[in-house]
Amino acid sequence: MGHKDTVVKNGKVDTVYHQIPSFQFLNQDSTWVSDKNYEGKIYVADFFFTSCPTICPKMKTQMLRLYERYAHENQLALLSFSIDPDFDRPHVLKAYASRLQVQSPKWNMVTGEKAKIYELGQKSFMVTAQEDKNEAGGFVHSGAFILVDKQRHVRGIYDGTQEQEVNHLMEDIELLLKEK
């Protein structure tokens, strides 16, 4: 999914699919997490903030289903970006993660420079993520779960607040796990 480019190689036209670019952020253990950590892995990403009163709890309930279901599947990881990184410092994420009873690196929750996170969210993961004083909690963001394959291609976007949609996501994960 996403923006496509075409290249001409040896007289043949080929399509270059959108890829998640390199990134580097701090996780709940204050260690660096980058795209390198996800080499050869499938992962599900989302955008949230710990003090979010609206859809995040629903998303986290659904993400927790993935966490528990794929606890022993090393090819699959979860990655949550905070869109309130000024407040969600690593120690805040740490407290949140441990109350949710989840651990890195299976489920990394990351924070960093706000502009970089928003740009990555909007341009690469194709979701809404920005500040909005009129929204409850102060931020507007989508409840999307983004499925990324081993080649850093976005393979699907799902509504992470809906159990049915996440069931669908699980079916797609099963398919991706079979890909080489």
């Binding site: 003090s51 009163p53 609206t54 859809i55 709890p57 629903k58 986290k60 309930t61 927790l64 407290a95 949140y96 441990s98 109350r99 949710l100 009873q101 409850a136 909690g137």
Partner: protein
């Protein structure tokens, strides 16, 4: 013949139901309205975190069902938490929950009254109505 019997059965059942419901006192109907409205408000404002069945979520959001909250807190205290949130840690079934709960500042006293009535009815084993006047008074005197 079978269809006829089924129809008669249905008719009898609905007549019984009609008689029963018409015997409900006005107060009971009024209370039921509070409970139903409260349930809708709960779905809108509380369920995301505390979950549909009041189970809470791990150590992040405390459960409401099968808890000692209903014995430890009175309706006025619950009303204040719903409206203003909970900034300090709260003890539920002897476990401390430290996540900050945001307030629901936009809720009116009536909304709060309905939610409290619903919560007590569903999980507090307490069918009393928490009236609008009580809610107003409680919210005026929140700590």
């Amino acid at each position: 013949m079978k269809i006829n019997q089924a129809f008669l059965g249905l008719l009898a059942a609905s007549t019984l139901l009609l008689i029963q419901s018409s015997c409900q006192s006005k107060e009971e109907i009024f209370r039921q309205q509070y409970v139903v409205e409260g349930m809708m408000q709960y779905e809108k404002h509380c369920e995301n975190c505390h979950q549909k069945e009041g189970s809470g979520l791990k150590d992040l959001y405390p459960p409401l069902a099968k808890t000692d909250l209903w014995k430890r807190l009175n309706a006025s205290q619950i009303a204040c938490i719903i409206k203003n949130g909970q900034k300090e840690a709260i003890l539920v079934n002897q476990k401390s929950y430290q996540n900050y709960m945001p307030g629901n500042n936009k809720l009116e006293a009536l909304d709060v009254a309905e939610i409290v009535t619903y919560l007590r009815d569903k999980w507090g084993n307490d069918p009393r109505i928490f009236s609008l006047d009580s809610a107003r008074l409680a919210l005026k005197n929140c700590p």
